[in-house]
């Protein structure tokens, strides 16, 4: 069997057969329509939906990220504001505390001064009265002592003369 016989003879490779063409044509068209209706359409539809959903998810995730960043920034701002406020409060508290301390110190000092002054005056007064008392006592003592001295002296001749003179003087007058 040579090559022309292989392809050209009846029952050869290139033998046209209308029946086969017809059946393939009809079957293939039927196949296309059945597959389109029951296989391709649902699968492609599902694929497209899935793709759309994934796209949407990505978009949403991006939006969420942006939103999160925005909230984060806001949060940072709030924190900064809060710390600033806290600083102010602490500072003012410290200021007022210092003021109160100074005031208290001042008042205490004043009071102490007053107390000291009172004590001093009292001491002075007491000393003065003591001095006065001492002086009076000393006067008494001195008078008594002097009296005694005078008493003894009067016994003397001299003193007798003195007194006599004095009496004379007194009577001379």
């Amino acid at each position: 069997m040579n090559i022309p016989a292989l392809i050209l003879l009846e029952g050869g490779l290139l033998d046209p057969h209308v029946g086969t063409i017809f059946w393939v044509f009809v079957t293939f068209l039927l196949l296309v329509f059945i597959l389109q209706r029951f296989a391709w359409k649902p699968i492609i539809h599902a694929l497209e939906e899935r793709q759309a959903r994934i796209d949407e998810s990505f978009k949403k995730a991006e939006e969420s990220n942006k939103e999160a960043a925005r909230i984060m920034a806001q949060f940072d701002q709030i924190v900064a504001e809060a710390s600033e406020k806290a600083d102010v409060i602490v500072r003012s508290a410290r200021d007022s505390a210092e003021k109160i301390k100074a005031e208290t110190l001042h008042k205490t000092k004043e009071e102490a001064d007053k107390l000291i002054a009172t004590a001093k005056s009292e001491i002075d007064q007491q000393r003065n009265s003591m001095v006065l008392e001492l002086r009076q006592e000393m006067v008494g003592i001195i008078i008594s002592v002097a009296g005694k001295v005078i008493e003894t002296n009067l016994n003397d001749e001299k003193n007798r003369t003195l007194v006599n003179n004095a009496i004379q003087n007194l009577s001379g007058k």
Partner: protein, 304 residues
């Protein structure tokens, strides 16, 4: 691989006791009976060409019924089933079974909000490949949706038909010029039913000097038919060629009437078989892609 070669060698030594292959009886065909010497290779052509018997040797042969030819005008059309027609229907059944099984989950839950099954995944990969790598770039964003079912079906049909030739007792119907011609006819009709104005303008009013019209117009008209013709012949020749080579390598054993030939021809046939695996896939892709290209040329609106 080494073990396989070793087995082949061992087998051939065992069989070496009777190294003569019993010669085949030539087919009782009138034309072939005269050429007795070449009759040993008869089975090659017998395997490849269409017929009204399906061989399941050694389990027997199914003889297909012969229907009365239908008379259309002066033509007689024989619609009785042949070997290839039966395999055509078997392939179609197989494809429907696979595709409908894969799509059943998608029909129930149209939102695609579920984890696809294994076969569903396979179909998703195929659909996305045809859609994103063939339909969209070849046909364009505007029109591709209309032709996607055809391209997908063509790809799956050609692929399954090609692969059927690689399994035992199977045969690839795409190795029949009539089958590929019918597929190319579908492409041809699709192209010319959906062709836009610019397609016809390109044929009858091409952008060439007026003097070239007598040459260009016949060439363009010829081109209308050569494109699907090339589509049909390419697929047919690729599938037939591979099978012919495999069968010839096996046939060498019988033609040379020695088992020792098997040492060389079986590994070679195996190599071609593996090559065929690749060719089956590539040809299905090529057929689909060229169909896409031809459709794309027909439907695009812009001038080029």
């Amino acid at each position: 691989m080494i073990r396989g070669v070793f087995t082949v060698v061992l087998l051939s030594f065992i069989l070496a006791g009777s190294p003569r292959v019993a010669s085949c009886e030539p087919a009782p065909s009138d034309t072939l009976a005269a050429e007795k010497k070449e009759g040993k290779a008869d089975f090659i052509i017998h395997h490849i060409v269409d017929g009204d018997k399906i061989d399941f040797e050694p389990f027997g042969t199914v003889v297909l019924p012969k229907w009365k030819p239908i008379q259309i005008g002066s033509f007689q059309v024989d619609l009785s089933p042949t070997k290839h027609t039966v395999f055509l229907w078997f392939n179609t059944f197989l494809i429907l079974l696979l595709a409908l099984t894969a799509a059943s989950a998608y029909r129930k839950n149209s939102s695609g909000n579920f984890v696809p099954s294994a076969i569903g995944n396979l179909f998703e990969i195929m659909i996305e490949f045809i859609r994103d790598d063939i339909a969209k770039p070849m046909i364009g964003e505007h029109h591709y949706k209309k032709f996607l079912p055809f391209l997908l079906s063509a790809f799956l049909f050609v692929l399954i038909s090609n692969f059927m030739g690689l399994i035992p007792f199977g045969l690839s119907i795409t190795g029949n010029i009539n089958v590929t011609a019918a597929l190319a006819l579908v492409t041809f009709l699709t192209v010319h039913i959906y062709s836009g104005k610019s397609y016809w303008k390109h044929i009858f009013l091409p952008h060439v000097p007026l003097g070239l019209y007598p040459i260009m117009i016949p060439v363009e008209i010829l081109g209308m038919f050569t494109k699907p013709f090339a589509l049909a012949v390419r697929l047919f020749a690729n599938m037939t060629g591979g099978h012919l080579v495999i069968l010839t390598f096996i046939g060498l054993i019988f033609i040379l009437e020695s088992y020792y030939v098997a040492l060389l021809s079986v590994p070679l046939a195996l190599f071609i078989y593996l090559l065929e695996l690749l060719v089956c896939l590539i040809q299905a892709y090529v057929f689909t892609m060229l169909s896409g290209v031809f459709i794309g040329m027909a439907v695009q609106n812009e001038e080029h």
